[in-house]
């Protein structure tokens, strides 16, 4: 008997959903005994036939809801244009990039070496200090391991032939020093640098405020500070929201969002730019259309 038929799911000898799913995708071909058996079963079994029909209906719905939004192509081309980047195939540009990349690596290594040298010299005995932090408070006693080591710069030949004896000592270390040598005081690993993203050509944000008119005046003032003006859509005075539009350079938009957040408005949309995420956005100076909706919070 075919495996699929033995793997009972919920009815007497019905195939498992996984087999019905594969049948739904692949159907039954003449040589495929397993799928042929499933096809026969599906014909005869109401439960499985309904399951397969439901899967097919779902497949059609998934296709329908995944349709790309209207105007996507246009917006992509606008974003490419706005990114202001010429194709980077120019050999001189590639070479220059690689030179800068190499220089950056060298600079980072040199900096790291300088930091290591500085701390190697910082102790009066020239000792290498390994810290095991036991408490987060400054001035807390920590266990300290001291290893004798020649002063940096001494010739390798001058190293003692035998392995230096290691002394264990308990001493007080200032919490600030602990942080200064790169140990996170909370024991957490430092976060990796965040990835950067371009802003799309249009950003839509919903902000909430307790007083619509006050919020509108604040927005107008901040927009003027950024040398822009918000065009507000006509709205019913009783409406609980206002809709406006402004064009700002991407850098200014980030500053605008930061300012609004700093003045107590709440952003409820998840898309970039978010307050305080300037470091995560690549600013190219491109103009961004900012659609904003100001919504009154009710009691």
């Amino acid at each position: 008997m075919v495996n699929a038929m033995i793997t009972n799911s919920y009815e007497h000898s019905c195939p498992a959903p996984e087999h019905l799913s594969v049948f739904c995708d692949c159907g039954a071909t003449e040589g495929d005994l397993e799928m042929t058996a499933i096809a026969r079963h599906v014909d005869a079994c109401d439960v499985c036939r309904r399951t397969v029909e439901a899967y097919r209906q779902l497949d059609r719905l998934v296709v329908a809801v995944c349709r790309p939004p209207a105007g996507l192509e246009k917006r992509i081309l606008a974003a490419v244009k706005a990114s202001g980047q010429e194709p980077a195939d120019r050999p001189w540009r590639l070479r220059a990039f690689r030179v800068v990349q190499a220089a950056a690596v060298v600079a980072v290594l040199a900096l790291a070496a300088a930091v290591v040298m500085r701390y190697a010299h910082s102790g009066s005995t020239g000792a290498d200090v390994t810290l095991a932090q036991q408490n987060q408070d400054a001035g807390t006693a920590v266990e300290t391991t001291l290893a004798e080591k020649p002063v940096a710069g001494e010739a390798v030949a001058a190293l003692p032939e035998t392995r230096p004896s290691r002394l264990r000592a308990a001493g007080a270390v200032n919490g600030n020093d602990v942080q200064a040598v790169g140990i996170d005081r909370n024991g957490a690993r430092p976060a990796a640098p965040a990835a950067q993203h371009y802003l799309p050509a249009t950003v839509r944000h919903v902000w909430t405020t307790a007083d619509l008119q006050q919020g509108r005046r604040l927005l107008d003032r901040l927009a003027q500070d950024g040398n822009g003006a918000i065009v507000w859509a006509e709205s019913d005075s009783q409406a609980g929201s206002l809709t406006g539009k402004i064009q700002l350079a991407d850098g200014k938009l980030q500053a605008f969002v930061d300012s609004l957040h700093g003045r107590g408005l709440q952003l409820v949309s998840p898309s970039l730019p978010q307050p305080g995420t300037g470091a995560k956005v690549k600013f190219t100076g491109q103009a961004v259309t900012y659609d904003l909706v100001l919504v009154r919070t009710g009691q």
Binding site: E18, L58, V62, P68, A70, S83, A195, H197, V206, S241
Partner: protein, 198 residues
């Protein structure tokens, strides 16, 4: 993908390398929807998927002159899209952006100390009328449930149904075993069916 289509893509890439921007526009026309759909499969958010799709073609535009054609254009584009979508996914995860906020939930920092819930008066026209009419109620439910489906199931389902990729191609793209893909697709379908009561 047919050989003719692949040759077409090669010809378009060559034309772009010679400076013909229109060739790039044709490539965007052919593949922007796919980039969006792949990104949507990974991210489950239309806004994020569009952001990724834009980023994909900005990068392709910059890198295309260096594209040597060792792989097909589509394979290269899939790879870029998957990488960017996964980066975005990780970034969202760290930032915790994919949080469903109930509009009835109390607003953070409401400040009056009363502990009472404050409701947001949403404007009526949040979804453009044209977009609104396109979606039936069932489609809207499918949309919501698909967004909330575990990522690994949604990703596989979208590749299978929308991209019409074979099980083998999905397994190779996601670097998984064939059996894993069959199982993910089946579980995704079953989960959706249960959630939607079909």
């Amino acid at each position: 993908m047919s050989k003719t289509a692949m040759n077409d893509d090669r010809a378009l890439v060559e034309r772009f390398k010679q400076g013909d921007e229109a060739a790039f526009e044709i490539l965007v026309g052919k593949y922007s929807g796919r980039a969006y759909q792949i990104a949507y499969g990974v991210l489950g958010s239309r806004e994020d998927a569009e952001e990724v799709a834009q980023d994909v073609f900005i990068r392709i535009h910059r890198a295309l002159p260096r594209f040597r054609g060792e792989a097909e254009f589509t394979t290269w584009m899939y790879r870029i899209t998957m990488n960017l979508a996964k980066n975005k996914y990780r970034w969202n995860k760290i930032r915790g952006s994919k949080v469903n906020i109930s509009i009835d939930a109390p607003l953070e920092g409401s400040g009056d100390g009363s502990g009472e819930e404050r409701k947001i008066d949403l404007p009526d026209g949040r979804m453009a009328p044209d977009a609104k009419s396109v979606f039936t109620e069932l489609e809207q439910n499918v949309r919501d449930e698909l967004d909330n489906l575990p990522d690994i199931y949604r990703e596989a389902l979208v590749m299978r149904n929308v991209e019409e990729m074979s099980y083998e191609d999905i397994a190779s793209t996601l670097d998984c075993k064939l059996g894993t893909i069959k199982s993910r697709i089946a579980r995704g379908r079953e989960e959706l069916r249960k959630r939607l009561g079909l």
